[in-house]
């Protein structure tokens, strides 16, 4: 196991986390750290527990043992929507857009996180309400424009092409103004060109919004291409960690993928 580099200003700290489902230990004694403005990849063969790690970080599952700290405070026991409010947003392995809403509304919905008004304002429809809705509409369009989705703003989300849907899901996550973005296999089902665009997109997001990204991905080209650091999981256990080159040559990693 290569030496774990000291992570600068730790944003997310997963400490000795274990979770079991019935008789199966999905994740075992996992240590994982992500610093500010880092692009980290999480890879491993199928069933290694990668999505489970996402679900643990976002509060969908609770760890049986261990601790998860975000920005210094524990997220364990918090409901997913609270964790999102604290600055972690995600996309899903199988795209989960709000299918009956438009592209615009998919992003707009997330802005309710930043609403200063509440249900009373929506009912009263006073000055404050209209001003805030105006401001939100502006910010939604800004985001859509950055990612070239503004022309599709009124299209129902389910009518978008696969690639556009994936992009929309990422934009929607960004609307939450996260400090940490979790991407679950964003390159799935993409061709070579789309993957190159995706790589550029993720890099762009990291640079432009100054956030950290934790990427789960099967496509080695994508992972090796953009990740600064890679963590390798196999059967729920971390078997390697380090820079792309180090990990690529690690015999344990090679064996896990080629397997017996």
């Amino acid at each position: 196991m290569t030496a774990v580099e000291q992570v600068q200003n730790v944003l997310l700290k997963v400490e000795k986390v274990t979770i079991r489902f019935g008789g199966l230990t999905a994740v075992s004694n996992l240590d994982l750290q992500i610093g500010g403005n880092e692009l980290v990849g999480l890879i491993g063969p199928n069933g290694a527990g990668k999505t489970t790690v996402f679900n643990l970080i976002t509060g969908v599952y609770q760890p049986a043992e261990g601790e998860i700290l975000f920005d210094g405070r524990s997220v364990v026991g918090s409901k997913p929507y609270r964790i999102t409010a604290r600055g972690i947003a995600r996309t899903f392995q199988n795209i989960r857009l709000f299918s009956s809403l438009t592209v615009f509304d998919n992003v707009r919905t997330v802005f309710h996180l930043h609403l200063r008004g509440d249900i009373r304002h929506a009912l009263w429809r006073g000055r404050a309400f209209h001003d805030e809705e105006e401001s939100i509409a502006g910010r939604v369009m800004e985001l859509l424009e950055i990612f070239h989705l503004e022309k599709l703003r009124d299209a129902p989300a389910k009518s978008l092409s696969y690639g556009d849907q994936r992009r929309l899901e990422i934009v929607r996550a960004l609307a939450a103004q996260p400090k940490l973005l979790l991407l679950d296999e964003p390159a799935a089902g993409m061709n070579a060109n789309e993957k190159t665009d995706l790589m550029r997109l993720i890099q762009f997001i990291k640079d432009r919004f100054k956030i950290s990204v934790l990427l789960v991905e099967h496509d080695m080209q994508v992972v090796m291409g953009i990740c600064e650091r890679i963590v390798v999981l196999d059967y729920g256990v971390k078997i390697a960690e380090g820079k792309p080159d180090e990990v690529r040559r690690d015999p344990k990693v090679i064996q896990a993928y080629l397997g017996d």
Binding site: T58, V60, K79, P80, Y81, T84, A85, A89, R90, F92, R96, L97, F98, S99, S100, L101, T102, F104, D105, R108, T109, V110, F111, H112, L113, L115, G117, D118, I119, H121, A122, L123, W124, R125, F129, H130, E132, E133, I136, A137, R153, D154, P156, R172, A173, A175, A176
Partner: protein, 328 residues
Amino acid sequence: MRFRHAKLVLLAALGLSLLVSLAADRIDPYVLFVLYNIGIYIILAVSLNLINGYTGQFSLGHAGFMAVGGYTAAVITNQFGALNPFASGVLFFGALLAGGLLAAVVGLLVGLPTLRLKGDYLAIVTLGFGEIIRVIFQNMDLVGGARGLSVMHGYTNFFWTYGMVAVTVYVVLTLVHSTYGRGFIAVRDDEIAAEAMGINTTKYKVTAFVVGAFFAGIAGGLYAHSTQFLTPGGFNFMQSIAIVVMVILGGMGNTPGVILAAILLTLLPEGLRWVAGVEHLPGIAKMHPLGWIGDTRMIIYSLLLIVLMLTRPQGLFTWRRKIAEAAP
């Protein structure tokens, strides 16, 4: 949809209903009765649409909330009624409100335990709650139990009915068409994603139940003071299903469609009676050989449901393929 002039439209609607109300003695009482029914069912359907249509919580117990509102308002006016016209107006408003609030509390009690349930289970449990409420009223001497409750004052009039219709539609539409309100639809479309995007799904579901129940309670109060006789049997799950049919026919999450459906389905028995040539006076139906028309209403409803689901599950009145409107 920003509805910039929503409040003005609401005020105009209230003013209009007041005007019609004042001229009400020029209208045939039976026509008025039907109009009240239409208004009451619009409120029921639109409020159910918030729970079922927009938030995707398939509730089959809406009649229970109606019962709570109806009985509460009736008991209050029976107790404190027979005052001068102005005071009785205030009393009626208070009674309706009390009915609505109590129904809202019941909505909270029903909504909370059902949160973890989905689809079929949710439907059956809400049906169960509706039945439990009915059974409770059936055993409650205060409201006459199975024998029924006579409502002494027929306070319902055009103003109250359509004023409440306006308020209900206003609340549901303004609620849903706001950034806050998009959350309801998000919960319906994908609860897990909604939760991941920072939406407190519990709060939204409960809010939908509470608001929906409140207006169902108001409708119940209006119903009580229109028919002037309540029986627990009138709030059974057939009643709930009648309202559900309106929501499905209109298109889940399509308020204008649901309003149209409510109007149509309330007029259906009247239309059938007209076709059969039966004279329609409240409480007196001249039996024509085609007196079976009333019984076939449910057969038609049920066939309608089946055919609708097989051919056009999105509802009859969903013209646009997408359900949610885009913001301006």
